[in-house]
Symmetry: C2
């Protein structure tokens, strides 16, 4: 159990960082924050998401915290560790929310001081808005949460990290290797975003609004995308993402061939498989 | 205005036919039904969706109705007209709910008696369930509704058909040629179903449930699909659907190339386009 006297620092107060802050404050923890913009600190203070915060990285401030949650773009996270890790409290447990793991977890662990511990985590939650002003701890309610420990990590620290996921409200907690995480997320999250973006690039859609049903709306909801963050995530997971994109392109081509040849058996077979598998995902 | 003394017949009491019956009965019309199975008639009678109904096609019964809504698979609809059109009341207005128009509307009009009139319609509403037991007039609330008249149709009959859409609860009523309808629906509805089915065919997904976020759920909701009906719709709209599939495959390939070459500018540009266009679809 993560005792209530552990002090938690959020680094990066955007949608995810702010939502962590909200959930952890509501759970009774003392939560502080460091982020680039003073206005984000002010917003979080005024809404009671954090108890205190700074727009600078101050050694004395950083050194107070037992747990640090990094909610930064992947490259910014790695740079932060390179530059400021000497400020961290000895024994601190670090975690993150980054959507790619292979190219982050090993890098961070390889440069990290031996007296602090980093365990990657990925709560499968989000919104089509950004910024701390849209943050809410509610986004984690019932969400999946993946931790990606390595042989470097101690079992007790892994359990603390899993506990953190339960505290913010996630219900299904899984352990995956960073590689397995990236394969899963390449398929479940990055590929789906690639599909939505590609679909939306097909036609200038203004006049389509009058004709659409729910299916097009549902499929393209995530086409509203933070281009800076997602282009970085795609490229950092390039190898795995390309594999998943090829897998999908192959199945799409197979279906297209079946339409071309009017192969009703093949069409119906693919539809029956998709129907059966989709039923696993009904809550 | 469609006066309340018009008697309306639903042919085919499935999800869509039953939902029409429900909405029209609630709007105060006398609604009857013909469908293959007596148990569907019984279900609709017991829930008050229809005033009367038959499991046979009876000349005297069919001949009473001023408006007939066909909610059948495309081929079954055409066969019904070939076989039973002599029973229709002179001056009757026929419409349908079929998801393809080019290969249905002209065919039906070419074989139809001159003293009755057929105007194709397509309410953009549905559910991932089927059968009259799941029918509800509520599915049309706020939905888009497309009518596909041809030069054969009289303006007054077209207006009646549009009025029918408003009566069941649709709000945005559009007129398209059958060809334009098929292009739109090939893109907005059939292509999205192809994408969802292909995505679901990529992996045996049972163990993925633990890791997924909302994006994968949203993208695959429509992978739960009636294989008999949709394979028929795909093949009847083959030419247009293949064009839309190629359009999408081209954009997907362009995005894949950008990931491969780490072309961040191209990636971000496609994402900015998709974000801008997706905003048209926010209610």
């Amino acid at each position: 159990m993560l005792s209530k006297d552990k002090k938690i620092l959020i680094v990066g107060l955007g949608l995810m960082g702010g939502s962590y802050a909200d959930a952890l404050t509501k759970a009774g923890y003392e939560v502080g924050a460091i982020t680039r913009s003073q206005s984000s600190i002010d917003n979080a203070l005024s809404r009671g998401l954090i108890r205190h915060g700074m727009a600078d990285v101050d050694a004395g401030y950083v050194g107070q915290f037992d747990i640090v949650v990094f909610s930064l773009y992947p490259h910014t996270f790695i740079s932060w560790i390179e530059r400021y890790q000497q400020f961290l409290k000895p024994g601190a447990m670090l975690t993150d929310v980054t959507g790619v793991k292979g190219s982050v977890v090993y890098k961070v662990q390889s440069i990290l001081r031996p007296d602090v511990e980093f365990i990657g985590a990925h709560p499968m939650a989000g919104k089509e808005t950004s910024g701390v002003q849209n943050a809410s701890g509610d986004i984690f309610k019932g969400a999946n949460y993946i931790v990606t420990p390595t042989p470097e990590n101690k079992e007790s620290a892994i359990e603390d990290c899993e506990e953190l996921g339960r505290i913010i409200g996630c219900t299904r907690i899984s352990r995956l290797t960073p590689e397995h995480h990236d394969e899963m997320i390449g398929f479940l999250s990055q590929l789906t975003h690639c599909i939505a973006v590609s679909l939306m690039n097909c036609k200038d859609s203004k006049d389509l609004v009058r004709f659409t049903g729910d299916s097009f709306r549902d499929l393209t909801r995530i086409a509203n995308i933070n281009d800076e963050m997602w282009s970085e995530l795609f490229i950092m997971n390039k190898k795995e993402l390309l594999k998943q994109m090829e897998l999908f392109a192959g199945q799409f081509e197979k279906l297209k061939k079946a339409v071309e040849c009017e192969n009703v058996d093949e069409l119906r077979n693919m539809m029956r498989i998709s129907t059966k598998r989709r039923n696993y995902f009904n809550h």
